[in-house]
Every structure is written in C-alpha cells, then in structure tokens.
C-alpha cells in the first residue's frame, strides 16, 4: 500500500517519474493505457493554455480577476483523472485542471472569473461543487456528501481540494475528524503550493509535512510529488479505491508550487525570490510529462505546438462568448434565493424596475 510506504511519518515522498520524465519506479507505474496518459497530458496543456489566456485577458482589462494554477496541473489532473463517473469533486478555488478533467466547461470557469454567478452553475450531471471562497469550508461539504453516499448505500467517492494555507483553519481539522469517525468515502487533497498569498508554508505551521495532519484524525495519509502526474494518479486512485471499498478517508499532500501570482492582483516578487521560482520551474509538471510521452513515441514537439495553438484559440473563443454575455440580468440577483421569491423580495425587485423606468 502506497499510503503505508509514503505515509505521514515515513519521511518519504512518492515519486514515480523524475523531473525529466524518466520513470524512477517502474513497478509503481499505474496500470493505465497510453491513450489515457496522453489524454491527461492534453488536459494539462489545455489547463495551461486557459490559464495563460486568462492572465493575458486580465492584463488587457477584459477578465475581472483570476487565480492562476500554472505549476499545479499534475496535482489537479492526476488526482481528478483517478475518479470514476459518479464521484463528486469539491474544489477550493484554483482547481482548473480538476474541473476540466471532470467535465466542467471552460466557459463556466471563465464566467466565474469574469464576475458572473452563472460561472457556478455547472451542467446537470456534473458532480462538481462551485468554488468555495471561505477557505477550508468546502471540506465539510465534501464529508457530508461522502457521508450521504454511505447512508444511501451508494459507492460514490468524494474528492476535495484545499491549499496549504487552508490546513490552518478549524474547518479543515473538523472535517478530517468527522470523516474518520464516520468512515466517510472521501479523499482530501492538499495542494501544498508553498504559499498562502504571501505567507510561506513554513510560517503556516510548524508541522514538518502537511500530510502529518492526518494523524490527528487517525486516518491514512500520503505525501506525493504533486508535479508528477503518475504519482498523483497512483496515490489518488489507491485512496479512491480504498474509500469505495469501505476503507474510509485518506489525506494526500501534493507537494507542488504555484509558479504564478496568487491572483492577478498579487505581486509575488514582494515575498519570494526569483531563484526559488526558477528552481521550481525546472520541476514543471507539464514539461516532464511531455518528455515522457515523446520518449515513449506517442507524442511529438510538433503535435505539442499545434495543440497548444489550438487550445489557445479555443480558450479565446470561449472567452469571447463569455464577454458577450455582458452584465448579469437584474432579475437574476433576486430570483434564486428561494424556490419561490418571497413577497418582500418581489416588491423590492418591482420597485427597482419601476424606478429604472422612471429615470430612463
């Protein structure tokens, strides 16, 4: 069991592929078709394209704000790729790679960062929760969803994400503890990208690893190279399988790095050295997977360039659609608070519409 070998107190990190895409531990390579790896890789590429495009658009003043995830693609895509059809995904707010893997339309994501609530209205059947801005609070929803699966006798598993900063807030610990007590089929993934805005991982907790927080709840944990798609897939798959088989929750620490800014309003040079960033850039999860696939002979530089171009274009096209949506409908800010609009809200709406007519 990986979670034993690379458990919270083993002082080891699961790595299957090195920084150059060379397999380090052949026996640990998950049993998965080449095409599946290629597909995951493509999702990583798509994620990065969408990310770059969003940043570019934001600089042009067209996108409202954006939380980039460049550098964290493997942590997200690798974990989400291990999920099965009915499984639930509960994100924090920076999980583009996971969203795309799980069928969330990029259009919705862009709508959200464009500042429109419709960006949180995913298609029916997409078992993905909206962004949870209050850090950590989503972990409890994840546990509740998982408990419900148990109660209903269904075998769906819930996968939830949080950041390194999020591990400090009470909701995180409460959620892990509940999950342990109720043996909830949930996989908790900490994306330790080393920063919570300007606060470094070292200032966030004295714990040597974040995964050791699993010990507090008496649940298994595993420390994984978050920039290694295969390792992330393997660890998550094992945890999901265990959960589905009634083995309860697992905490995964994906050791990774946010290469970009916290959001478009953040300037990371204020709190970290370029040197550190460069060191991590060498560990780029996309680059290493690409090297692996090319070495395997199932991908090429040319295809790569072409696909990136295609994704860039698609992203821009999608954003154009989003941009065309313009402003939120007035009615929409009233209509969705309750199944039926209560009288006082209806009245406030009507009065305002009346006012708008009067001043026109």
């Amino acid at each position: 069991m990986l979670a034993q070998q690379y458990g919270p107190l083993q002082g080891k990190m699961l790595q299957i592929m090195d920084e150059n895409g060379v397999i380090l531990q052949t026996d640990l390579v998950p049993d998965r078709q080449d095409e599946a790896w290629l597909e995951s890789y493509m999702t990583m590429l798509k994620t990065r394209s969408a990310d770059n495009k969003a940043l570019q658009l934001q600089r042009q003043g067209r996108m409202l704000t954006y939380a980039p995830n460049t550098g964290q693609e493997a942590a997200q895509v690798g974990s989400a790729a291990a999920m099965a059809e009915g499984d639930w995904l509960v994100p924090a707010f920076r999980e583009l790679g996971a969203w795309l893997t799980r069928g969330v339309d990029l259009e919705r994501v862009y709508l959200y960062w464009y500042g429109n609530e419709l960006g949180s209205k995913f298609a029916d059947g997409v078992r993905v929760l909206p962004i949870s801005v209050p850090i950590g609070s989503q972990f409890q929803h994840a546990v509740g969803i998982a408990m419900a699966s148990n109660i209903k006798g269904e075998d769906d598993v819930t996968v939830a994400y949080i950041g390194d900063g999020g591990t400090s807030i009470g909701d995180f610990s409460e959620a892990l503890n509940f999950a342990g007590v109720f043996n909830a089929p949930v996989v908790f993934i900490i994306q330790n990208n080393q920063y919570a805005i300007s606060v470094s991982r070292q200032k966030q907790t004295k714990a040597e690893t974040l995964v050791q927080k699993a010990v507090a709840a008496g649940i298994p944990g595993i420390l994984v190279d978050g920039n290694d798609l295969m390792a992330m897939y393997a660890a998550t798959k094992e945890a999901i399988d265990r959960a589905r088989d009634g083995g309860g929750p697992t905490l995964i620490e994906a050791y990774t790095y946010r290469l970009g800014a916290h959001t478009t309003s953040d300037d990371p040079t204020k709190y970290r050295e370029d040197e550190e960033v460069e060191k991590w850039r060498a560990k780029d999860p996309v680059k290493r997977m690409k090297a692996y696939l090319i070495a395997k002979g199932i991908w090429s530089e040319e295809e790569d360039v072409r696909l990136i171009e295609q994704y860039d274009e698609e992203a821009l096209e999608i954003f154009r659609k989003v941009e065309a949506t313009g402003e939120t409908e007035l009615e929409d800010i009233f209509k969705y608070h309750f199944a039926e609009m209560p009288e006082h809200l209806q009245e406030q709406y009507d009065e305002y519409v009346q006012y708008l007519k009067e001043v026109e």
Binding site: S132, P134, I145, D171, E174
Partner: protein, 325 residues
C-alpha cells in the same frame, strides 16, 4: 390525537418524518444514543438505526457543514445545535453556504435542510444557553427562520420546514419545552412558513410577539382586558420572511403597534417590525410604534436572569402606555 408538550411533539414529528421519508437524517451532539439533552430525539436511533439518527463529534461548524453536503447529495438533514449559543461556531457555514448555495449556483444546488436549536432563555442555565438569534439569522438573505409557540404549531411548522426545498432554521423556545400540553393530531399536517397567526382579535393595540413570549403577551392581554384595553395579538411564527400583510392590516385597524421580544433591543427584531409598520401604516399611527424588548446587555446567568426577562405585568405596563398615548 395525543396530548403532548412541545418537546415530545418535536420527537413525535421527527419520528413520523423519519418514517415517511427515507431521505431524512437526524444528528448532532448527544442526539443518537442518549436522545438529546432535552430528549428531543429519544428513541429515534433505536428505531431508525445509527445511519439515520446519530451522534456527531463536538463541532458545530462541521455539523452544519456536513449537513450542507448531505443536502447536496440527496438527503434531507435535520441537524441539531445543542443550544442557540453554540450556533456561533457554525455561523460561517450558515451565512456563507447554507444561505447562499442556491443563489450562488443560480438554482442548480438547493439545500433542503433544517437546523434545529433550543432558543432563548428563562431556563436558569449558564452563560451561552439563553441566546436570542432572531436578528443574527433574520438579517441573512436566503434563510427562513421559524419559531413555534405551541406544540400544535411546532408539528405543522417543523413538517413544513423539513419538506421545504430551502434551508430553514427552526428555533425551539426551550423555556416552554415542557411548560404545557396541547392536543396534537396524529396525522400529518403542515403550517405554511411565512404566515403569522392572529391569536386574539382586538381593537386598541396590535401586539406582535413569538416563541415563549407569546404566552406572556396573552397574559398581559388578559390583564389589560380587565382595564378595557383590547389587544390584537399576533404570533409571528416565522421571523423571516415576515408576514407583513397580517401585521400591517392589523395596525391599520388598531392604529397602535407594540412588538415584544426577548432579544436585545438595539438592532433587534423589534426594530425591523417597527420599520415595517412605518412603511406600511404610517398614516394610521396614533402612537409611536413601540418595542418592549430585552436590555442591551449580555443575558445574565440565573441569579440575575429575572432582571432580564419580562413578565406579563411589565409587558402590560409597556402596552398600557401605548394604549393611553
């Protein structure tokens, strides 16, 4: 038809709904094995099993937060918070998620869930066991806040709350859990949320109250009746959204308005009701809309509690002034 007090009515109602709807689950601290410190859930775990009626670890945020998840995944959670004074650790989940999930997702994810809690004071308990949350919950867009004043209403309102497609906060006036009994029909019935109830028709002053204070107001009404002052007494029943129509119509008739509540006065629920009366019946007013409310202090623990809580006499005193204005 059985004769029941408020707490056994809650138990009976949860029992019936657990039986009727497999999606209903009931949980909280000491809710399962022990059946709740007030015994609201006594016997239910035995009957419906540990999967549907269970104890949780001591963590209010997680109690509410997991309820959110359960509601999303097809259940109808009825979560218990031990006392309203322990709602605060769950306030982030309540405000940020319970109240907002439907609006956030533009209707895709709704949360059919109930948060029950013993509410208010007057039970000679220690600090934090006597809190009134009317304003703190009533002010939050996206929540419905309900409180019964009788066993009969409790059943009808709780069934409505559990069957509602949206979250409902169900405040149980602990002071009257065992204060009196009433006939409660065995069969299923609901009382619509958002509708106040005129308990007594009258001509001189409209008095609105809810929860435990309703009974003091009724007594005050008797005292004043002897003096020839006729009260129209309204039990608000739903704190949010408020049934303005019933209140405004009444004030238009009586010309005088008093609200009686337990919560602290400043920024309290009485202010909202006074505002509504201003907005809906200003020209009918023959006296200033008035609140008879808790002092702006932390509710004292038992040896000082009597200073805080108002009896019928004191309420009558306040209403009399308005009547004689």
């Amino acid at each position: 038809m059985a004769v029941m007090n408020l707490i056994s009515t809650i138990n009976h109602t949860l029992d019936q709904e657990l039986e009727r709807d497999q999606r209903v689950v009931v949980f909280g601290e000491d809710v399962g094995l022990e059946g709740g410190v007030f015994r609201a859930t006594v016997g239910l775990q035995k009957k419906y099993g540990e999967k549907r009626v269970f104890d949780t670890p001591l963590a209010e945020s997680a109690i509410v937060g997991t309820a959110v998840g359960m509601a999303i995944n097809g259940l109808r959670p009825v979560a218990e918070i031990r006392f309203s004074g322990f709602m605060y650790p769950a306030y982030n989940q309540i405000v940020s998620h319970v109240a907002r999930m439907r609006n956030r997702t533009r209707g895709r994810l709704n949360l059919p869930m109930v948060i029950r809690m013993p509410h208010g004071g007057g039970i000679k308990a220690l600090e934090h066991h006597s809190e009134s949350l009317d304003t703190l919950l009533g002010h939050i867009p996206g929540l419905k806040v309900v409180t019964p004043s009788t066993p009969y209403d409790a059943k009808g309102l709780l069934l409505s709350a559990i069957r509602d497609e949206d979250p409902v906060i169900f405040l149980e006036p602990s002071k009257i859990y065992r204060a009196f009994k009433q006939e409660v029909p065995e069969e299923d019935y609901t009382i619509p949320l958002g509708k106040a109830k005129i308990l007594q028709q009258g001509t001189d002053v409209t008095v609105v109250s809810w929860g435990a204070y309703v009974h003091e107001v009724l007594k005050a009404g008797q005292l004043l009746a002897e003096e020839g002052i006729s009260l129209e007494i309204i039990d608000l029943r739903t704190i949010s959204p408020i049934d303005r129509e019933t209140i405004i119509e009444s004030v238009q008739k009586t010309g005088r308005f008093v609200v009686v509540h337990e919560a602290a006065k400043s920024f309290g629920p009485g202010a909202e009701l006074m505002a509504l009366v201003n907005e809906g019946a200003f020209l009918y007013l023959e006296a200033p809309p008035t609140r008879i409310a808790g002092f702006d202090v932390t509710i004292p623990i038992p040896r000082g509690e009597h200073h805080y809580f108002m009896d019928a006499k004191r309420i009558a005193h306040g209403i009399r002034r308005v009547a004689n204005y």
